[in-house]
Symmetry: C2
Amino acid sequence: MDSKVFSRELSLRSVRVTDAFWKSEMELVRTEVIPYQWEALNDRVEGAEPSYCMRNFRIAGKINREKCEGGETYEAPQYTFRGCEAKPEDPEHLKDEFYGFVFQDSDFSKWIEAVAYSLTQHPDAELEKVADEAIELVCAAQQEDGYLDTYYIINGRDKTFSNLRDHHELYCFGHLTEGAVAYYQATGKDRLLRAACRFADFIADYFGPEDGKCKGYPGHEIAEMALVRLYEATGEERYLNLSSFFIDQRGTRPYYFDAEHPESARECSEMTQKGDQKDELRFQYHQAHLPVREQEEAVGHAVRAVYLYSGMADMARLKQDESLYAACEKLWNSIVNEKMYVTGGIGATHIGEAFSYPYDLPNDTAYSETCASIGLIFFARRMLQIRPDARYANVMERAFYNCVLAGMALDGKSFFYVNPLEVVPEASHKDERKFHVKAVRQKWFGCACCPPNLARLVSSIASYAYTESADTLFVHLYMGSEITKLVNGQKTAISISSDFPWEGTVQIRVRAKGTGLRLALRLPDWCENYRAEGLEKARTEEKDGYLYIQKDWDEEDTLQLFFPMQPRLIGANSNVREDVGKVAVMRGPIVYCLEEMDNGANLHLLTLDAEEEPAVSGGEICGVPAKLVSWRGFRQSPEEEGGALYHIWHKEEIELVELKYIPYYMWANRSENEMQVWTRVAGTNENEGESHKKIKHLKKI
Amino acid sequence: MDSKVFSRELSLRSVRVTDAFWKSEMELVRTEVIPYQWEALNDRVEGAEPSYCMRNFRIAGKINREKCEGGETYEAPQYTFRGCEAKPEDPEHLKDEFYGFVFQDSDFSKWIEAVAYSLTQHPDAELEKVADEAIELVCAAQQEDGYLDTYYIINGRDKTFSNLRDHHELYCFGHLTEGAVAYYQATGKDRLLRAACRFADFIADYFGPEDGKCKGYPGHEIAEMALVRLYEATGEERYLNLSSFFIDQRGTRPYYFDAEHPESARECSEMTQKGDQKDELRFQYHQAHLPVREQEEAVGHAVRAVYLYSGMADMARLKQDESLYAACEKLWNSIVNEKMYVTGGIGATHIGEAFSYPYDLPNDTAYSETCASIGLIFFARRMLQIRPDARYANVMERAFYNCVLAGMALDGKSFFYVNPLEVVPEASHKDERKFHVKAVRQKWFGCACCPPNLARLVSSIASYAYTESADTLFVHLYMGSEITKLVNGQKTAISISSDFPWEGTVQIRVRAKGTGLRLALRLPDWCENYRAEGLEKARTEEKDGYLYIQKDWDEEDTLQLFFPMQPRLIGANSNVREDVGKVAVMRGPIVYCLEEMDNGANLHLLTLDAEEEPAVSGGEICGVPAKLVSWRGFRQSPEEEGGALYHIWHKEEIELVELKYIPYYMWANRSENEMQVWTRVAGTNENEGESHKKIKHLKKI
């Protein structure tokens, strides 16, 4: 893998995020999301569907104790502070059975991961105690052989791993492992990590290339990247090898999932013979239609896809596997060149929560799941670790500030699963094709994947903002932070401050005298001309969208970067039918949108006038400060009441208006109302004035 | 019902259609559709899913014969000429059971109805003989008590009428009755009519307002209008009363369908309590959510809806029921002012094959079922019979020449069920949300409702073109015809010739000397200034879109009407979000569209220049003559291969092109390709030149 520059994520214990913008998001997670989630996991939220997550662990633990009677003495954990104890009113009608989704265990794992990250930035003894107790409860559910999935512990181990395609044991294992590694790295406590290792060992004994071992692989990916993380935390090669086996085995023929489900295989084969379905379309949902190195187009369930690709990128880096890296590149390009919303959202169709075909990016029926955008960030960070190229970081930034943040309300109390780019509440209420598109955030979800995923991501943002190699600190995202880094055994300190995403000034103070520290600072794609100060004596180089800085550091050096943030109009590739003749407004990394409450109803009647200059002002939404943008445009006069459905066309009556834009991620915080990112623009295809010069020739067709 | 002018449909035996355009459509039905359908009904089409329709009648007849053994002697019909005999190879695996959809009987009924109409225009002894034999076979299936639905005859009569909501006995009865009346009126033969009456009598004994009778009504409407037809053919009031009962009973509380399906009632009630669904949303699919007089918005399954409304209009006319007429008017307006495509298609969503909410008329996911547009024509004709107002006839014409004709290929051999206004074949193949939108017509359908419905409609077009009152002939549609009409016992002859829909000249020769004949000629809404000749001595009056003509007729009078047919640009109501900034092209009654094969791929990149003048030329599509329209416009240059998904917006490079339009109904006859009715238009919301004058004021919002 020539020309690659590998880097690793920064330990969160060596960064302290001080950034006004992100710190407040992290505080929302710490003070709102994590406590709320904990109550939810324990079925203590009034009016919410119970999760049963911790209850399932408790039941599984009880089953273990019953087994152990007369054998090993089981010590029941002691609970304090609103811990994992059953609700006093645990309803009598509940039996000692498994309740909830088959992947319910993973809710705990995402929660503990978020807790771990949060503790690195904001130590909290009380929270840590709750977490320790929760871990005890989970570990008590682990069986003697290391198996730890409450669904099968409660329902009978004989069916273990019998339905890899649809059930989620390996998915739950993956999340458990991610949580365990994070908690270990945050606190140094290895109770959960040891449990994860035992479960991993059990799985490694069961699956693998050796004769007699199962040749299956996960239906919902995540174990691939989780095992890499476990390998990196423990140094145990067998975890890396197991991940490698899952990746290589995927999509090989005969299809493993067919052996598991002979009936669907037969049905599919009959359909194929009738020409109703092509054989290769099978298992696209699971990215198991082809061996991963032959996959060129991002397809199927979007979250699963980017989780898989993240694991592939990890493996490509660690094994320096060129063919796997080439596949990652193709899949990356497939997403960002053909299948990504301007917000960094992915997954254009709710059917299968999946990618649609290239350039099919409808705004009003978008799926664009919060988790999928989070997974895209995972993938981007891992690609950056292989090669520091701003292509990846630009997308990561886009997803962070737009699709992902939109997933959570400004008060941290409600969440979007689906992140459309255009909403008409009436359609969401009355049109079954848009029932998945909610016009207001929801309190919690039956399938509660997005809120905890968001919590763990936001709490660990520093590990996406920065990666490092031996002598270099890569700065992918700008945010206020205090970072310490060892270079050749010598401690350096880098202090960054900025008002991103609202202002483009970044100040970097470096204390690295006598070290060979190199800085690599990303030059965002939204900024054509940046300015730097304090580089007089430095050796600088621009490469792949990064400014590399080396110098003989003084006791303390101060650098400044200025990235101008004019509002800009964005056009989409002309293959995107939904966006033709339309523009989106961006400023810095922020995508803007129009809301009905600022612009009146019928946003589709508005046209932005590209000849006019935008205005930027400071403002706030629900008390949260933001830069607002306004742009002159027109409003087509709405139809008279009771007007005919069709009429002889005439130039519409228009009135001049000021289009008032707010950051997309802040939409739907003030009321249920229309929202629109892509707006018609005046200036396209005019046959008058300036544009005449651009007319090439009259072509008869 | 003051101010109403009632008229009745013209007997098809008193009209001979000579029109070049419609005659060729009728010939397609006679020579292609009717024979093909007959083969299909008898499971003799190679490669097609068997219909089992005639087979079911045969099995039911056999059950009857077995019952009659020792009793009444059953005489098995003798079959000749590819009649209803079983295929020699009737597969052995088939048992004496019912096969196919629960409403399979209706396929025969629609076929016999088409045959009947066809015989009035083109006598055909051989076809009539096949039809007579088919009727024998069907009548042999009728049970002693008059019941005639093969599904329950074969599966057991004990469950008769036990599931009015989902099963289709009353629907099949309705179609049988329509076919029977048509065949009687066409041939004078009453064998099938008597069977229909016996079945109707059985139903009238079972359902009704009297104590002890069932209070149900049809799940899928049609019996309402069929019973009216039976009443008009026989003069038997009890059929009118039964229809009236079904209409009045519909939607009353407690809901009859709930009594039939207590489980769904309970579920729904639980959902209502949880706030998931409002009680009044129930049964919208069946138009049974409210008593019909309280219904103001067209909702639910579009075919069912317009079939019901047709029956309501019949009843309003016959009973001079003002409140029922008022409901019909509201429902009519709901459709044509808020829920109808420019093609006369209705039903905007495939979910429930239903109407969507007002102004929700997506072009690319449209349902716009052929049958629904046919039903809209039924409704329109019946509204015309109450009041000759061109509002109704204009819609009827729109539906006939556009949505309905699009349902059949130019060779009469394949059919559309769904009639979208915008198609990208890739989307139809890859996007499950558009799987219902076919880019090419299909040979036949498992649920074969549209082709036979189209056959019966086209064959009887004269009964939509004309209605009559005692002294007046109403001409709603222009087509070449020879009509005879009695006025005060004296015979008049009216001969009409025209080149509609391609030319707007209509010649009418009248032989009505000494009679008080009055002509009422529709003035189409697409024509602002017509010219008339030969009216020098006539007394004329324009009213509700009709030109009334009375005069002292000479031996032969010749009138001429000239309706100019310039291509015109149509705009949609600004509430139709999908069509904002776009135009459709029409000429006369014909809606035009762009196809990829004439205009290149990526039709969404085209813009029509409204400042330019259109050009009309004679041409043909697959050998069928047509007027073609071209209009200057622009093409946005497509993206470079591999271009970025998003870029800084700039005025697009454009090239001047000639947009080549063909009649919408002729699309998809040459190949699978993109098609588009609504195209972006230049001239909207420009801030330069002319349009500046229209800017009202700068309004701060």
